[in-house]
C-alpha cells in the first residue's frame, strides 16, 4: 500500500493528472514543466507552496468593526419597527455586496494565484465544514473562516477542529454561540462527530447530549466579533463523553474525538475521495489513517505520500472524476489562459451549477461526484461554455445594478438607463494557438484535444468537430471559439 510511483512512470500524463487533482489544471506549457521536473520536485512545487509569496490583499472590510456593530445596535434600539426593518435591509445589502466581492476574491486566487494546491485544500475544508452565509449573514465571518482554512490548510487535525469549533461563523452556523446550561443546544455536538470527524456508528446519542453539555461556554462576542468563553453558560457537572468522565469542556471534547481511531479513518477517507474521486478501499483507508497517525496528525506529510503513491495514478482513478463546478470554471480559465468573467457573473455561474461558494446546501456540504451532473446542470455547463469562450453582450446598466445588489429595481423591470453593452467573456485564440493551428483544421482539432482533454475524443466526435470546421471554410476567430466551445460541450470535458 502507498508505494511510491516509480520515477520512470512519471510523464506528461501523470503530471497532468497531478496538476488537475492537486490544483485546478493548467496549459500544456505548465504540464510539460512539471513532467520535466520529476515526481518529487513536481509535487514540491504544488505542496510546498510556502516558497511562493501570495500577496493577495484582504478585502478592506475584512476586520472586526465594533464601532459599526454598536452604531447599528443603537440605531435599531431607537427606531420604529419599520425603520428597524429598513436598517437591517440596508445592512444585509452591504453584507451581500461584500459576499459577492469575497466570492470573486477567492475564485481569482484559485484561477490566478501562485498556490493552487493551498486553495484546493481551502475548498476541501469549506466543503467539509460546510458553513453557509445564509445563516451566518456576515461576510467578515465568512472571510475569517476562509482564512482559517488557508492558514491551517495542511496543518494539524486537532488544532484545526479546535479552531473551527471556536470560529465565529461556525459558532453561529451550528448554534454553539447560544448553547448554555441547563438546556444545551445539541447542533454542533452532533455534527462535529457525525459529519466532521467520526461518522455515524462511532458515537451514541448519549455522547451527543453529554458532548453538548461539555461544549457549553464556547460562545461568540457579537460586539467584538470574536470567540469568547462564557463561564456562566458552562455546565460544570460531570459528563461522560466517548468513555471519558469528568467535568469536561470543549477542548476535552475535541481531544477525545481526535483520539478515536475512527477519526483518522474518517478524515483520510474523505480526503482521498476528494482528490482521487472515489472512496478508498478498506485496506487503503487503514494505510492512509496510519500515515496520518505516524505524522502526529499533520496533513501535509500524508498528502505528500498520497500524491506520490502508485494508487493515486491507477487507471481506475485517472480521468474518472467529475469536475466540480468551481474546478470546471477555474480550470477553464487556467487551461485557456484567460480571465474569469466579472464576479457578479461568476457568482451566477457557480450557483446554477449548484456550487454556491459560502452557501453550501446544508451542513453535509456538497455531495460531489456524479451528483454534480443532472440534465439541467449539464446543459448549464454547455451554455456557460458559450459565455466563457464565445462571450456575450450584456447591458452595462444591468451589470452595474448587479454589482450594487439593486435587486428590487431589477426585479421591477425598469428600463436600463442606457443601452450601452459590455462584452463579457470570450477567449483570445491568438494567444493560445499558433498561426498553423489556427489555419490547419486537423492541427487545430489535435491542439484543442491536447489542451482541453486528458483523453482523446471518440472517433464520431472528432469527425463531427471536423465536419463543423470544414463547413466553415476559411477559419476566423469566431469559428475557432465555436470549436473550443464544442469540445467543452462533451461528456469528456466534464471529467478530469
Amino acid at each position: 500500500m502507498l508505494k511510491a510511483l516509480p520515477a520512470d512512470r512519471w510523464d506528461y500524463n501523470t503530471a497532468a493528472h497531478l496538476l488537475n487533482r492537486a490544483g485546478f489544471g493548467g496549459p500544456p506549457t505548465v504540464i510539460e514543466r512539471l513532467a520535466s521536473l520529476g515526481p518529487d520536485d513536481a509535487l514540491s512545487t504544488l505542496l510546498d507552496y510556502e516558497q511562493y509569496a501570495d500577496p493577495t490583499p484582504a478585502p478592506d472590510w475584512a476586520k472586526p468593526d465594533p464601532a459599526g456593530v454598536k452604531q447599528l445596535r443603537d440605531a435599531a434600539k431607537n427606531a420604529s419597527p419599520d425603520e428597524r426593518r429598513k436598517l437591517y435591509q440596508q445592512e444585509m445589502r452591504v453584507q451581500f455586496r461584500r459576499l459577492m466581492e469575497l466570492r470573486g476574491w477567492w475564485l481569482n486566487r484559485m484561477a490566478k494565484g501562485p498556490r493552487p494546491f493551498q486553495e484546493k485544500m481551502v475548498l476541501f475544508w469549506h466543503g467539509h465544514f460546510a458553513t453557509s452565509f445564509v445563516k451566518v449573514r456576515s461576510a467578515y465571518y465568512m472571510w475569517r473562516q476562509n482564512e482559517l482554512f488557508r492558514r491551517l490548510a495542511t496543518g494539524n487535525w486537532q488544532e484545526l477542529l479546535t479552531f473551527v469549533g471556536k470560529d465565529p461563523a461556525m459558532l453561529i452556523w451550528l448554534d454553539q454561540a447560544e448553547s448554555r446550561r441547563p438546556h444545551a443546544n445539541e447542533n454542533f455536538a452532533r455534527e462535529v462527530m457525525e459529519l466532521f470527524s467520526l461518522g455515524i456508528g462511532h458515537y451514541t446519542e448519549k455522547d451527543v447530549t453529554e458532548g453538548a453539555r461539555a461544549l457549553t461556554g464556547w460562545s461568540l462576542d457579537r460586539l467584538n466579533q470574536d470567540y469568547i468563553y462564557r463561564p456562566f453558560f458552562h455546565d460544570n457537572g460531570a459528563k461522560t463523553f466517548l468513555g471519558l468522565t469528568g467535568n469536561l469542556n470543549g477542548d476535552d471534547v475535541i481531544a477525545r474525538i481526535v483520539a478515536q481511531p475512527a477519526s483518522a479513518r474518517f478524515i483520510t477517507a474523505k480526503l482521498w475521495n476528494y482528490f482521487a474521486g472515489q472512496p478508498p478501499s478498506d485496506g487503503l483507508n487503514i494505510a492512509l489513517a496510519a500515515v496520518l497517525g505516524e505524522n502526529g496528525n499533520n496533513f501535509k506529510p500524508l498528502l505528500r505520500i498520497m500524491f506520490r503513491s502508485e494508487e493515486f495514478y491507477n487507471p481506475a482513478i485517472v480521468c474518472n472524476q467529475v469536475k466540480s463546478p468551481v474546478q470546471w470554471l477555474v480550470g477553464t480559465a487556467r487551461v485557456l489562459e484567460c480571465d474569469l468573467p466579472p464576479t457578479q457573473i461568476c457568482e451566477g455561474i457557480t450557483r446554477r451549477m449548484r456550487q454556491d461558494l459560502f452557501a453550501p446546501p446544508n451542513v453535509k456540504g456538497w455531495d460531489g461526484g456524479i451528483a454534480w451532473i443532472t440534465t439541467t446542470t449539464l446543459l448549464d455547463r454547455y451554455n456557460t461554455a458559450a459565455l466563457l469562450i464565445q462571450g456575450a453582450d450584456i447591458p452595462k446598466a444591468r451589470l452595474e445594478a448587479m454589482q450594487q445588489m439593486q435587486m428590487n429595481s431589477m426585479a421591477a423591470g425598469q428600463p436600463p438607463a442606457q443601452r450601452e453593452r459590455v462584452h463579457v467573456g470570450g477567449v483570445d485564440v491568438v494567444r493560445i494557438l499558433s498561426p498553423e493551428e489556427r489555419t490547419d483544421k486537423s492541427r487545430l482539432v489535435a491542439a484543442l484535444q491536447h489542451r482541453l482533454l486528458q483523453s482523446a475524443l471518440k472517433d464520431d466526435q472528432a469527425r463531427a468537430l471536423g465536419d463543423f470546421l470544414n463547413a466553415r471554410g476559411k477559419l476566423n476567430d469566431a469559428d475557432i471559439r465555436a470549436a473550443i466551445r464544442l469540445v467543452m460541450c462533451t461528456p469528456e470535458y466534464q471529467v478530469t
Binding site: 438546556h183 453535509k364 446542470t377 451554455n383 460541450c489 461528456p491
Partner: protein, 445 residues
C-alpha cells in the same frame, strides 16, 4: 394562425422572464437575451402539441430539515403538550381547529381550505422503527425506504422506475430544482432534473431562420450521442448511494455523463415547447415553492408523460427561534399547494394527481432553551388529491412522558405502508418488489 399565437406568447414569455423577474440574474438568461431571441422563430416552429396521457401522477414534496410535526398538526388541548412547550405552544386561538382536539398550525390556511373541501388527508404519527436523528441518515432512510439499520443502494422511486418503467421516456421522473434526489437513484438512471425551463437547452449564437440548420447545435448533438460500445442500459451508468447519500456510479463516470447528456437532449425540446405554449390557470404565490409547483402544473397540462414529480422546500431545521421561521415556511407550503390544487382543478387534471409530503423526522416534544426544538422522530405527513380519504388518518402518538422514547413521540404508522399504498392504489404496481417486502398498504384514496 396557431403558429402566430404561440410566437406571440413565446416572445412575451421571453420578455417577461428575461427582463422582468429574478431569472434575469442567471447567466443563461444573458445568453437567452443575446442568442435565443434571435431565433425564437425557429424554436416556435418546432413547437408541437404534445399528447396528454391519462396515467396517474405522483408529486413528492420534501420538507427538508425535519419539520416540527407537533406544532404543525397541533394537539392543542393536550396538557402534556402545553407543559412541554411553555414558549412555543400554540393556544386554541392560534390553530385551525380540525376536531376539537387537534388543529392545524395557523399559517396553514391553505391546507385548512383543502381539508374542508375533502382534498387533504393528515396521516398522524408517521415514522419507522429505531429512528435515526441524523438529517442525512434519516433522509436516506426515507428516500430508500430501508430499515434503519440497513443501507440500501437505490431509491424507492428509482426502484419503481426500474420495475415498472423499463425503457420509459427519461421524463417519467422529473425533479424540479437541479439536484437528483436520492429516491431517484436507480439501476437504470431514469428521470431528468429541471430548474429553469427557459435555459433548458443548448444555446447557440447562430442567426438562423426556420428550416435553416444551425450547424453548431447539430455538431453539439452529434458530439453527445451515446457511443455504440456503451454498456446497455442495465449495466451502464447506474446510480447508487453509499451510506450517507454520497452517490456512486455503477459504471464509469463518463458513461453516466453520456447518458445524462442524451436525456438532456431528448427532453429539452419537449419541455421548452410545453412551457412556451401552456398557461397556468390560477395565480400562485411568488415563492420558490410556488414557482416550482407552477412549473409542475404547466408540465402536467402540457402532457409530459411523467409519473413522478419531485420538489423540495428547505429550512425546517429550527433549533433556534422556531416560531417565526416555521410560520413563514408553513404559510409558503399551504399557499403554494392550495394554488397548485386550484390550477389542476381548473385544468381538469386534479383527479390524476396525488401530492405526498414528507420530512426526515419530527422534533423533540420539549422545546429547547433557544426558542427552538431539536431533532426528533415521528411526525404527521399530508396527502393531497381529489379523491383522498380526507380527514385525520392513523392515531396521534401519546405525548405522555412515560410513552416517549428518549424524549420523542413514537410512530404509529410506518412510512413504508404509505409508500405501499401509493404504489398499489395510486401508481397501480405491486409494492413488494419495490419496497423489498410487503408492507400493509395504507388506504389513502
Amino acid at each position: 394562425m396557431k403558429n402566430e399565437i404561440t410566437l406571440q406568447t413565446r416572445r412575451q414569455f421571453l420578455r417577461t422572464t428575461v427582463l422582468g423577474s429574478a431569472l434575469s440574474w442567471t447567466v443563461p438568461a444573458f445568453l437567452a437575451d443575446t442568442f435565443a431571441a434571435l431565433h425564437s422563430e425557429a424554436a416556435d416552429s418546432a413547437t408541437q402539441i404534445a399528447t396528454g396521457k391519462d396515467a396517474t401522477i405522483l408529486v413528492v414534496l420534501q420538507m427538508a430539515g425535519g419539520n416540527d410535526g407537533i406544532n404543525t398538526v397541533v394537539p392543542y388541548t393536550n396538557d402534556y403538550y402545553r407543559k412541554a412547550r411553555p414558549k412555543l405552544g400554540l393556544t386554541p386561538q392560534q390553530v385551525l381547529n380540525l376536531n376539537g382536539e387537534i388543529g392545524l398550525h395557523r399559517a396553514l390556511t391553505g391546507f385548512k381550505d383543502l381539508y374542508d373541501d375533502g382534498h387533504l388527508a393528515v396521516v398522524q404519527g408517521v415514522g419507522y422503527p429505531n429512528p435515526n436523528r441524523s438529517h442525512f441518515r434519516s433522509t436516506e432512510i426515507w428516500q430508500t425506504a430501508s430499515d434503519s439499520d440497513q443501507v440500501e443502494k437505490y431509491g424507492w422511486l428509482g426502484r419503481y422506475f426500474d420495475n415498472a418503467c423499463p425503457g420509459c421516456d427519461p421524463t417519467v421522473g422529473v425533479d424540479i430544482g437541479g439536484q437528483t434526489p436520492q429516491s431517484f437513484f436507480a439501476q437504470t438512471p431514469t428521470g431528468i432534473s429541471l430548474a429553469n425551463p427557459q435555459s433548458y437547452r443548448f444555446m447557440s449564437p447562430g442567426r438562423f431562420k426556420p428550416g435553416q440548420v444551425d450547424l453548431l447545435e447539430e455538431s453539439y448533438e452529434k458530439m453527445n450521442e451515446m457511443p455504440d460500445d456503451a454498456p446497455d442500459a442495465n449495466s451502464g451508468g447506474s446510480i447508487g448511494a453509499l451510506a450517507s447519500g454520497m452517490p456512486q456510479p455503477g459504471g464509469s463516470v463518463l458513461h453516466f455523463i453520456e447518458r445524462t447528456a442524451l436525456d438532456a437532449q431528448v427532453s429539452s425540446e419537449k419541455i421548452r415547447a410545453i412551457v412556451a405554449r401552456v398557461k397556468n390557470q390560477a395565480p400562485y404565490p411568488a415563492t420558490k415553492l410556488g414557482g416550482d409547483l407552477k412549473l409542475i402544473a404547466q408540465l402536467i397540462a402540457g402532457g409530459l408523460p411523467t409519473r413522478v414529480y419531485y420538489v423540495s422546500q428547505g429550512g425546517y431545521d429550527t433549533h433556534v427561534n422556531q416560531a417565526g421561521t416555521q410560520d413563514r415556511l408553513l404559510k409558503e407550503l399551504g399557499d403554494a399547494v392550495n394554488a397548485f390544487v386550484g390550477d389542476l382543478k381548473a385544468q381538469g387534471n386534479l383527479q390524476r394527481v396525488l401530492v405526498v409530503t414528507f420530512s426526515e423526522f419530527g422534533r423533540r416534544v420539549a422545546e429547547n432553551a433557544n426558542g427552538g426544538t431539536d431533532h426528533g422522530a415521528a411526525a404527521p405527513l399530508f396527502v393531497i388529491g381529489d379523491k383522498v380519504k380526507a380527514g385525520l388518518l392513523g392515531r396521534y402518538p401519546s405525548l405522555a412522558p412515560q410513552d416517549l422514547f428518549e424524549g420523542d413521540i413514537q410512530y404509529t404508522v410506518d412510512f413504508r405502508s404509505i409508500y405501499a399504498g401509493v404504489l398499489e392504489s395510486w401508481l397501480q404496481v405491486k409494492s413488494a418488489p419495490v419496497l423489498g417486502r410487503q408492507f400493509e398498504p395504507l388506504q389513502l384514496v
